[in-house]
């Protein structure tokens, strides 16, 4: 589905504006992640991720991103970080782990970058 007026591609480097177009694209993925607020749903996902993704009708590209545990891929497929954080929680990833993965750093280097921002 195309909406020309939704298509304001973000020119802020490294930033995806989560707008109507992305919210439509990522709906199934975000809906699955929202379900992880409930512990029994987290257990169901862990027991059989493929069946769980199928139940929420993720697109193949969204499934691939989840299989790879790749946050940038999930964002490209419409994932919103607030919902993705719940998926990251299943894998016991902190927001620093998630930040490190997206920036291609080790978690230690990412934490140091944050500390350095305080000294700037």
């Amino acid at each position: 589905m195309e909406f020309a007026h939704f298509d304001h591609h973000s020119p802020i480097p490294g930033t995806t504006l989560f707008d109507g177009a992305m919210a439509m694209k990522g709906y199934a993925l975000n809906k699955m992640c929202y379900s992880f607020n409930a512990a029994e749903n987290r257990e169901a996902f862990k027991a059989d991720p493929e069946a769980y993704m199928e139940r929420y009708q993720l697109t193949e590209a969204q499934k691939e991103a989840v299989r790879h545990r790749n946050v940038l891929e999930m964002i490209a497929e419409g994932g919103n970080i607030y919902y993705l954080a719940k998926l990251a929680g299943i894998y016991h990833l902190s927001v620093q782990d998630v930040g490190a993965q997206q920036t291609g750093m080790t978690t230690e280097a990412f934490k140091q970058k944050l500390l350095d921002a305080g000294r700037a």
Partner: protein, 282 residues
């Protein structure tokens, strides 16, 4: 008549909740952050508010993308936190003030702010962490006021403009002041300051912009309405848009405020953490 005492801002980072649970107050990483709170505890002990209006943004607990209110006001007798997906402890409910909530909803809609009213609202860390910071032991703190949560959308664009947020606060001030009961009210603006969790720019923090915002929100909040939403994302980071909550709070405090206390520290988790206590000028 209801009277507004002042406003308090704080970041509401989930990691703070863990640090409180672990009593990490003297830990070298946490001390510069927690040292910002005792002057606020003293002020609250002195002024004794009856009602706290907690302006925060939901992060995918109370609301989902199926129905996303731009502005929502709690209208419940109590508010519960729930599991947000990472198994944080569930607390006892926070008592509300449904009568005052409905007064605010009536007045806000009459003032042409179209509100989503919520008779049930699960409140997440955005609401809970500030309550625990300001009233240690919350919800088991006898001095903790009755709470009215107000949530604004920062999950999905279009988000409100800074001008709209400030005007929301101004209308909220009139709504509070027209409440006939003799209650003392404190307003919380929670969230921010600069941070970005997503994308290749994750870890972005902007001290210069945060300090500009902390200065202008005292002296000239109107100047901040010149910042576009796009520019806010650029300068504060994708999740730094939570600064809208500070603007809503500021609007409710009237033209002039006395800045009694401020603290700013980088980093707490991925965030530039700002705390301010603004008392309404007499």
């Amino acid at each position: 008549m209801a009277r507004i005492l002042g406003g308090i801002t704080t970041s509401h980072i989930p990691a703070v909740g863990n640090a409180i649970a672990n009593e990490s107050f003297e830990d070298p990483y946490w001390k510069p952050f927690f040292d910002g709170y005792p002057p606020i505890h003293d002020w609250l002990a002195e002024t004794k508010p009856d009602v706290v209006i907690n302006i925060y943004n939901d992060h995918g607990l109370g609301f989902f993308l199926d129905k996303m209110p731009t502005f929502a006001i709690g209208a419940a007798h109590e508010y519960r936190n729930e599991d947000e997906g990472w198994g944080i402890p569930r607390l006892d409910p926070f008592p509300g003030d449904a009568r005052m909530s409905w007064h605010l909803i009536e007045e806000m809609v009459a003032a042409e702010f179209d509100i989503t009213s919520c008779q049930e609202l699960a409140v997440d860390h955005g609401f809970v962490v500030p309550m625990q910071l300001f009233w240690p032991g919350a919800p088991h703190n006898a001095a903790m006021p009755r709470a009215i949560p107000i949530s604004a959308n920062t999950v999905q664009h279009p988000i409100p403009t800074l001008n709209r947020a400030l005007n929301f606060g101004k209308a909220l001030r009139r709504a509070i002041q027209s409440y006939p009961e003799d209650v003392k009210v404190v307003i919380l603006g929670t969230g921010g300051l600069s941070h970005q969790l997503d994308g290749a720019r994750a870890g972005f923090i902007n001290r210069e912009f945060d300090e500009y915002c902390m200065e202008k929100i005292v002296t000239d909040p109107e100047a901040l309405t010149k910042i576009s939403r796009y520019e806010l994302v650029e300068k504060a980071g994708a999740q730094g848009t939570e600064f809208l909550m500070w603007m809503m709070m500021r609007g409710a405090l009237g033209a002039k405020v006395n800045p009694l206390h401020r603290n700013y520290h980088i980093p707490i988790s991925n965030t530039g953490a700002g705390t301010m206590l603004l008392e309404c000028a007499a």
